[in-house]
Every structure is written in C-alpha cells, then in structure tokens.
Symmetry: C2
Subunit: 306 residues, 2 copies
Amino acid sequence: MTRLVECIPNFSEGQCPEIIQSIADAIISVDTARILDIHSDRDHNRSVISFISKPEQAVEAGFRAIKKAWELINMASHRGVHPRIGACDVFPFVPLDGMTMDNAVLLASELGKRVGEELGIPVYLYEFAARTEERKNLANIRRGQYEGLLKSIAEDPNRSPDFGPAKLNLKSGATAIGARNALIAFNVFLNTEDKAIGRKISNSISESQGGFKCVKSLAFEIESRKQIQISMNLTDYKVTSIGKVYEKIKSEADKMGVDIVSSEIIGLIPFDSAADIVNFNIRVEGFSKSKILEERIKQVTKADIN
Amino acid sequence: MTRLVECIPNFSEGQCPEIIQSIADAIISVDTARILDIHSDRDHNRSVISFISKPEQAVEAGFRAIKKAWELINMASHRGVHPRIGACDVFPFVPLDGMTMDNAVLLASELGKRVGEELGIPVYLYEFAARTEERKNLANIRRGQYEGLLKSIAEDPNRSPDFGPAKLNLKSGATAIGARNALIAFNVFLNTEDKAIGRKISNSISESQGGFKCVKSLAFEIESRKQIQISMNLTDYKVTSIGKVYEKIKSEADKMGVDIVSSEIIGLIPFDSAADIVNFNIRVEGFSKSKILEERIKQVTKADIN
C-alpha cells in the first residue's frame, strides 16, 4: 500500500482566486502532491486546500504552500469573520491508511521548524503535535486572533512560539501546524440575521457548551447571504454524525421559528460518514458500502471477471 | 470496458435459507456470474438475489437459478404478503455500462424461451421486453396472483403466456421475465398495525394514486414486527428520490400520529441515489462523489502516484 498523508491547510484569502491558485500550483510543483479539493469562502475570506502526498514529500509541499502564502497574502489588511492568526492560518497533517499519528506528528514538527527558521514565521504546534497541554486546543493558540497575538506574543511567555521568532511578522502573522485525526467541517445556513438565535443554536450542539461530544461550533453572520451560519467541526463523526447535528439544529431552529436554508461540507468526508446520513436520517437498517452498486461490483469483480 | 448485466430475480421463498443458498450456488456455478446481494424476507416469504454476469452467460445463470427454484419451491403451499405468480416470480435484466436496453431485451427473450420450452413454465415478458402494451406493467401480469392465474390462464386468451404452455404448473406457477432500468426497492416501517393508515400513506406517494412520479407503492401488514410496511419501487430516482418519499411518508405519518421505525433498501442502490440523500435531506449544496475522500483519492492517484 502506498503510504499517504492528507494536509488541509487554511489560508486567509477567500476573495482572490488567483492567489489560491498560485498556492495550489506551489503544492503540486512537488512530485507526488495531488490537490483533492479547494474551497474558498468570501465572507470568511478564507480558503481550504485539501491535498495528499507521499509523507516523504509532504513537508516540502507544505513549505512551498506556506512560502507562497507568505509572499502573496497581507494579514495587515485582512478582514473576515473566521478566527485567524496568519496568512497560512492552520496546517494540519492527517495520517491516512498505512501511516500512524506519530508519523504525522514528526511531519508537523519538521514543517514547523523549516517555516520558523527559513521564513521567520512564529509557529505553534497543536493537537497531537502540541508540546504543552494548552496547545492541544487550537482555540487557545488562536485566542485574540492575529490582532491580539500582535500585542501579546513578545510580552506573554505563554504565547512564545514553538519555532521561529517571538515576534509577529505583520504581513504573514503566525501559523499553527499540527497533526490530527480526520474531521468533518460542516456548515448550516439559517434564514435569519439574528446573531442571538445563531449563538443559541450553536451552543445547543457545541461540546464546550454542554452539547454533543466531539462537536466544535461557532455562529457567524454571513453578510453576502444575509444569513446566519452555524460553522462546525465534527472531530469524530463516529461519536457525533453530520445527521445528528443537522437534526438538532433543525429542531432548535423550528422552536425559534427559523428555517435551514442549506448546508455545506468543506473539503472531503469519509464514505462512512455519508453512509451514516443514509443510516441516521433515512433510518436505513444496516446501510454500508456493500449496498452501493458500483462499490459492490468492484468488490466482486476485483480479482477475476475481466 | 467489460460489459455486464445485472439480474435481480425474486423467489417465493424467504424462510428457508438453504433453498436460497442452493439457488445462489446454481447461479455462481456459471463462470462469470457473481452474487452482489441476497435479501430474504420472512413475512413476504420472498428472497431477492442480485447478481451480475457477462451478458453471454447471464441466460445460462438465470436458467440454472429458475430450474433450481422449480425443483425446490412449492407454490401450492406458499403464503406471503407480497404479490407473486411463481417460484421464480420475476426475473429482470438491467443493462449496466456498456450494454443497451435492446441487449437486455434479447436476453430476456432468450431466457423466456428456454424456461418455457425446457421447464414447461408459462413465461410473461414484461416492461421493455413486453410484446403487448398491457404487459409493460408487471402489475397487470401479476393480477390475481398465482391463485387467480391458476384459474384464468387456460380460459382467458389475454393471459396466454409469451412462452411455455397456457397451463399453470401447480408447483412452480408462472414467471415474469423482463428488461428494465435500475430501480430502488425501498421499504419504510411504521409503528402501527392499522392497515387504513398504511393505505393512506402509500396512496399519498404512489404515482397511480396521484402521488409522486416514478413511485410504485403498496402497504403490507408485517406480522412478525407488528408494523405496517410501506413497500416501494422508485423506478427513476432522478425523478423521485429516496429522501423525497421518506420526507413525505414522515410528514403524512406525523399527521396521523404514527412514527417511522426504520427503513430498508432491498438489493443495491447506485451511488448517486445515496448522494441524493446527503443533498436532499441534509441540504448539502453540490454534494457529489468528488466530496468523498476515498473516491477522490482514487481519482487523483489513479494514473501516476504509485
């Protein structure tokens, strides 16, 4: 089996497709790197590039991406509703089949070291790559965002980076680099502009507010759509599925007299999490990959029918 | 591309797994035939075997299956809630990629001829294989079921079979053999034993009762579960999706104070129809195969990463 790692860097640019394309081009200039998905959001002013690569080349691909973002994105003038600390705001490595989390942690450290030393960008290692308990949680690293970090990084020893200078480069800000399990980034849009309703619904599902396990959630005001967005990370869909949060949001929205307009998945989701929707929301008994015609044909014809 | 045909024969036996296994064994005794799925239902007293084969060998595999059913199933003592006319009640050919419906019609005729002549079973060709307008609709062929056909086959010239004698073999009954597009067999269970509620809900979605296009629907009383089952064929999921009928059944059930317990998919469904559920029931904008991680990795690594 080919060992592969998935990287899902987030960049603080969602309005200029040329910049994002340049970053994607920098990634695929590395031999085995392949873009899986690019998702740009104007209101977040943020783009998520999902790519895979052989682990041996993932650090080089990541370095080229962050360097390109450092060249082309200017944090000093960045505005957007999503929390962020830098031009490449966050860069997670996710181990795929044939790779361990320890492997991914090593890649995160290696990339962090190069970004800190060669680009002079403060780097914070997070989640499985974190070197302190506090930095396991990305929200702690991002507290106060770019603007807050600008003030506190030199003064507060707790905010001293794992690599690079304890001084924020005005143009690029800082970068969080980590290793984590696959997560699902799932957003739901509501036909209201009422932030209080958004907060209430977000709190009803967010683990930190006593909601569902393995759900991080924020409510954003999306001006271009005149809607509230419930923006979620499902950090373990086997614990809390897309369908489960969707139903909860729907029932909470019903109570407050608002409707779900639509939803979106940022990046990619594992097949099983889509099967969960069939299972949970349509209550299909025992639904699995083997019930999908194309998949099942592949299974039975693999070896010998050709 | 390997040309493949899918066959989804339905047999009037759902209580004795050994009989169904013998039929499946008869199918795979043919070189390129592969079983995709076996679904047995005790209350319907019926089993659905989904298999694929190269077209050149599909008729032989089908003939062996029907012959085995003719040997092992006795219609004279068969009881079950699903309409049926014979031991192998219905045998559809579905053209897959690389095959046309005309090809499938030829296979149906060829199998019908062999079953009629060699086993002496009356065979009715249906849907795309039908030779009269009336027989395009399987329900017309199955009218009165096995018991009704027993009386009328010799007397009513309209019921004269396309192949085989105009006389019902008591043990095996008759068989409908046809060619059709892929359909989705989808059942929903309700926590009620009230047949009137079942009929009302079934009528609300059935095309013949003014419901959704491309939906055939019946309500059955499922004794072993003490539930009503809404049993559907979705003949074109691109016109009416699983999610759409599910939501309609749910809202009708709500009105009558009953709940959906669960649902089931008989046989297999195309990937796109599962994606439709994600799209329709979770309202995910632009959901497609390319949003599934495993699928997308296959797409980008196909040629050259290994």
